[in-house]
């Protein structure tokens, strides 16, 4: 038997709507920034991981294992609370008055996700026959240039489906930022709940937003993918 009556009026206009909207904007900013940075960093780590220099390879490996195998929540707390012990007090003071919550969350999300992205890209690169690298090198390309012009463009294309997964995970993981007071979507949904006790409506709305956000990311990356593939076919 259902006894709950939905009251959507609370969150479709007025103060609580504005809260949820501002939460959505923060979630979008946090996700977009972290996705871009995580992709760049992941690419860099993947290249390092396949380097011929043993030290560089080892550093990348350690990075991967460390950030892939510790919980994201712990990493968020680490950047937010733990960095206090390492940084000089001048830096801490500046950070504390300039929205460190957002920066700490973005850092954690970026670094955590970059480790997964790096492994996805590496598996994409490994799927490119090594003769291509050899051909590129013998044609006079340096290792980095071979990667940049020949291997990575192909590898990234293969990597797109797993990359979508990482982007989606990141967008949803961004809700953990509320534990350190970043006022994103889930945080605002919870605020609406504690003010109105209409948590069911607020969280249903938040769920819908995450769903739409995920679908939008998937559609965007797939569109990009198709464009790239079509270019490839035309050439």
């Amino acid at each position: 038997m259902l006894t709950y009556t939905f009251d959507w009026s609370i969150i479709t206009s007025g103060k609580y709507f504005e809260w949820l909207l501002s939460g959505l904007i923060v979630t979008l900013k946090l996700s977009a920034l972290s996705i871009v940075l995580a992709f760049i960093l992941g690419l860099l780590i993947a290249v390092m991981r396949m380097s011929h220099n043993r030290v560089v390879r080892w550093i990348a490996h350690a990075y991967l294992e460390f950030f892939r195998n510790t919980p994201l929540l712990v990493q968020i707390f680490f950047w937010y609370f733990g960095s206090y012990k390492i940084l000089p007090s001048v830096v801490n003071d500046w950070l504390n008055t300039n929205g460190f919550e957002f920066a700490a969350a973005a850092t954690a999300l970026t670094i955590y996700t970059s480790a997964f992205i790096a492994e996805d890209i590496r598996s994409g690169v490994l799927s490119i026959p090594k003769e291509q690298m050899e051909a590129a090198r013998s044609a006079g390309f340096s290792y980095l240039r071979s990667m940049q012009y020949i291997i990575l463009p192909q590898a990234v294309r293969i990597t797109i489906p797993p990359l979508i997964n990482q982007f989606l995970n990141l967008a949803k993981n961004s809700s953990l930022a509320m534990t350190i007071g970043v006022m994103e979507m889930t945080y605002q949904a919870r605020q609406v709940e504690s003010y109105t006790f209409k948590g069911f409506e607020a969280f249903t709305a938040a769920t819908m937003v995450y769903l739409v956000l995920s679908i939008v990311i998937t559609v965007l990356v797939n569109m990009y993918n198709e464009k790239v593939l079509n270019l490839h076919k035309a050439a």
Partner: protein
């Protein structure tokens, strides 16, 4: 687009159907199953926290529900809750009663029923020593508290220019204060006293005499659960009469403890 709409509607349907009705007579039900499931705090001395030696949750709140359960002849099962999760947990039937430093207010009373006030305190601030003399010193500052608490709403009213940062629970808010991320942590005095008592460098902090609200605590029960509410009220009034309630207060807050609080209230029927 059509596909997307269908998906959204399906998701909405799923979320609607998970909400099931909860039986209204908790008193009879608890007696039948032999266990009273209590939502309590587990990191908030001296109301509800994990005792270092016994590894059990103990505290002022816990002693009250233990007494109630004893009267009912049932066992107690403690379930840790947060300020934000306790009301949904109760409404969805995961717990039978909330004993988690919960302030009674009109908004909450629309959704759940409260017992008579079993603890009385007021909302104050904890700050670094000497930094705050009056409320003015906190204007425009960042102030930390816990999500879903009345503290958050009170401080927004008392200090509209301040930024309120809501952490998951009070220990994190206090850590943020230690690191200078917030200028003050605000909540009920008794909770602040508990935080201060446990702080490793307590001499650096203080609780200035600035009170921004009255905070009467009640035990929370489901709306319209009249039998159970009456039973709980009757029990705690008896505890007041027999002196047991005062004894529990002294055990956790009295002269022998780190808090040295005076009992400035008596459990009485609400008007």
């Amino acid at each position: 687009m059509k596909k997307l709409l269908t998906m959204l509607m399906m998701a909405a349907l799923v979320t609607v159907t998970v909400k099931a009705a909860v039986a209204a007579d908790t008193l009879a039900e608890v007696k039948k199953k032999g266990v009273l499931v209590v939502g309590c705090k587990d990191s908030l001395p001296p109301f509800g926290y994990v005792d270092e030696k016994s590894r059990q949750i103990v505290g002022y709140d816990i002693d009250f529900v233990n007494a109630i359960a004893k009267k009912m002849g049932v066992k107690v099962e403690l379930k840790p809750v947060t300020s934000a999760s306790r009301m949904p947990q109760l409404q969805e039937g995961h717990i039978d009663i909330i004993a988690a430093t919960m302030t009674k207010n009109a908004d909450r009373a629309k959704v759940i029923d409260f017992s008579h006030t079993y603890f009385f305190t007021g909302q104050k601030f904890i700050t670094k020593k000497g930094t705050v003399k009056s409320l003015k010193d906190l204007e425009g500052k960042r102030i930390g508290t816990a999500k879903g608490s009345t503290s958050e709403q009170n401080v927004k009213k008392a200090l509209p220019t301040s930024t309120v940062l809501s952490y998951d629970d009070y220990p994190q808010a206090f850590l943020a204060l230690q690191q200078g991320k917030v200028a003050a942590v605000t909540t009920d005095e008794a909770i602040l006293a508990g935080i201060l008592a446990k702080a490793p460098n307590k001499s650096q902090f203080e609780i200035p005499a600035l009170q921004i609200s009255d905070e009467p605590y009640g035990l929370g029960m489901r709306k319209g659960d009249t039998n159970f509410v009456n039973f709980v009220n009757k029990t705690i009034l008896e505890m007041e009469k027999s002196g047991e309630a005062a004894k529990i207060f002294n055990k956790w807050f009295g002269p022998g403890t780190q808090f040295h609080l005076q009992r400035n209230f008596k459990i009485a029927a609400d008007k």
